[in-house]
Symmetry: C2
Subunit: 412 residues, 2 copies
């Protein structure tokens, strides 16, 4: 029953896609709905047509290719990921999941293998969320989590509207951006973007779920004043509590769960002049934990520290949580299928939670869902230094391919 | 001998200049060499011509108006300040010193008072240093501290060259930007921009010098990585030591001199994305103290803390001091003249150091120099809320006018 992918062809396809929107240092700069993203989509559609798949583009730009099954009552199995990248990101993030799915369908065609269930391959629109927020947008709309019209109206930093860009690159399709039928399952292969697989010497990761996430920002408001002539005891410097909160967010994980992580990715002060005491300072937070209870406690502590730091400096402050996603547990059936096919290949596996969020999180609202992780060297991600060896790419691709195949060949 | 200015005319002139480049909330937005600065300069030149002064514009745009003395051997006494403002600044900073000097010359004309020494009034180019760096630029070039050609080449944030803007607004004059003769003295009235006069219940400030200043920046360089999937123990987050250094700079003054102040006005992280661990983080410093020794120790401590914070996080760092000005002591003769005339008016005085830097600092390289401070309500400055009552403006204007007059009537 096992399908064994063609390693050379997988590598060729990975190398080909990596030339679209490539950066000088070997990375990818392929932001959602840019010309580079259009070129990657065009390449993807060419591959789908070459495989004689039925191409369907939905009104949010999600692109599907469908291979029929033999059982007219069997629901399709969906597999895929995303072709957009972070600013100056790496060539594996998202891409590997799409390329592996293409390689599965190529192998099934070459071997003239039929499946009871149809198999659909998908490229989701704007997974990264760096040009247009939020991320996981295409899967969010399709799964019903996000509102289509609201997401159309999102703008990038230059005020360009998402819908206009979608139309400009020719990827506002006709199909409704929603499941038109029941789905049997969704599988996604992604690079780990963390160090656990490498540290444990594993070949592939069997993902059991996704940690919960909280995003937000705290803005402190003090008084702008002259840096030279204002005595220290008459200052209301917004930057000081912001810095104290930042350091505290670094310490938060040590005081909570073993898997808690806390990050301040963005800091801004105004008026941002070397000789003016900052009037306002804003820091963002990104806090994650597998336990929604621990996440609640983390945000409580963070809010308490923000309050205390503001009081110490005598400034005002506001705390706003801008996003919260509950932790996700993938379905046993999919997790065990991934585990089983990896075992059959003799791969060393690690069962782990994903620290990053993926389109698969949204898909759990639609159908049974599972994920496979490929090893990320040094856990690096969102940088041109992101690296997964071709051997590791191949192992993970075989794993997801056979999980899809196993699910697609079961009786409806 | 005393001259008493016309309070109503002083207020009128202050209100008139405040309409040029005014903001909706009653402030001034009159950045150096913009159209608003040109309009203020045009108004100033009109005033000089109306007073029958000999107008001289030098090649760096400094504008002088000269009233002859009766003694051909007597050197001129210079008085003035600047007409440019900070972004969204106040209507007193710089402006009051220029308007008070105009009012002195108007009163001398009306009273047909002659002086042994010529009196020159000056508006310095780009005191603020917010559009083009550095500040105190016109006086710096004129006093020989800065190189004319180098300052011509400075560009603003949009890459516009200073020389091109100077020519565009028609203020690149023919006179050499240097003293063509000996000067007897320079006086400048400025608002305090600090709280000491108000706190002590004083009417005017007798400025004895300017504190020393150090500007610089520290850049920490770590590793960008995924905020969700990177465990805390594998992070090299540049923002953390930057925040620790910021908090430390807040504490520095308490550990050093009574008059030490330390400010981080600007903070930047890259890539500045909510879910990416910052790769680089840069904080600026502005540290000032009346003692150059204390300033040296402050920068040593700051550098040591930067190193320690970088080591704790395992990141690289660079410390660069970008500007250093030694503390300045004004000449006893000018300080005592200011004190004497203020006493004659019966004004309550406070002798104090200036925490802010002023064109007067550069003038100490050219001739004897003194300064008068006007009360700043709540010490506010560089904001539309900057406020000095008309009574306080008037008292400080009378003080600087009579200091100039006393010096200009002494024998050569």
């Amino acid at each position: 029953m096992t399908v064994v992918l063609d390693r050379g062809r997988l590598v060729d396809a990975m190398e080909t896609q990596a030339t679209i929107g490539s950066t000088e240092d070997g990375g990818l700069h392929r932001l959602a709905l840019t010309d580079a993203d259009k070129a990657a989509r065009d390449w993807f559609v060419d591959q789908l047509r070459e495989l004689d798949l039925t191409v369907r583009i939905d009104e949010f730009g999600n692109v599907f290719g469908r291979r029929p099954g033999t059982d007219p009552d069997a629901d399709p199995v969906l597999v895929g990921s995303h072709l957009d990248s972070q600013p100056n990101g790496g060539i594996y993030d998202g891409q590997l999941g799409v390329v592996a799915a293409l390689e599965l369908l190529r192998t099934l065609r070459d071997e003239q293998r039929e499946t009871a269930h149809p198999i659909e391959i998908v490229n989701w629109t704007n997974e990264e969320g760096s040009r247009f927020q939020p991320g996981l947008q295409g899967s969010g709309v399709w799964s019903g989590e996000f509102d289509l019209q609201a997401e159309y109206e999102r703008t990038d930093r230059d005020g360009v509207r998402l819908l206009d860009e979608l139309e400009r690159i020719g990827y506002r399709g006709d199909a409704p951006a929603e499941p038109a039928e029941e789905y049997e399952a969704y599988y996604e292969l992604h690079i780990e973007q963390g160090p656990y697989l490498e540290e444990s010497g594993s070949d592939v990761g069997v993902v059991t779920g996704v940690v919960g996430l909280s995003w937000g920002e705290v803005t402190f408001s003090g008084e702008a004043n002259h840096a030279g002539s204002t005595p220290m005891h008459l200052r209301y410097d917004a930057s000081v509590p912001a810095a104290e909160l930042l350091v505290n967010i670094r310490r938060l994980p040590g005081a909570l769960g073993e898997r808690t992580v806390g990050t301040v990715g963005s800091v801004a002060v105004e008026p941002d002049s070397i000789n003016i005491i900052p009037e306002t300072a804003t820091v963002t937070w990104d806090v994650r934990d597998p336990s929604d209870d621990v996440l609640d406690r983390a945000i409580d502590r963070l809010s308490e520290e923000a309050r205390a730091a503001a009081v110490r400096e005598g400034v005002e402050h506001e705390v706003e949580e801008t996003a919260r996603t509950a932790s996700v547990e993938f379905d046993d059936r999919c997790v065990e299928t991934v585990q089983h096919v990896a075992d059959e290949f003799g791969y060393e596996t690690l069962r782990l939670l994903s620290g990053g969020n993926h389109d698969a999180s949204h898909l759990t609202d639609v159908c049974d869902t599972g994920m496979v992780f490929a090893v990320s060297e040094d856990g690096k991600s969102h940088t041109p230094q992101e690296y997964t060896s071709w051997d590791d790419c191949y192992r993970a691709a075989n794993t997801v391919a056979n999980a899809v195949l196993a699910t697609a060949t079961t009786d409806a």
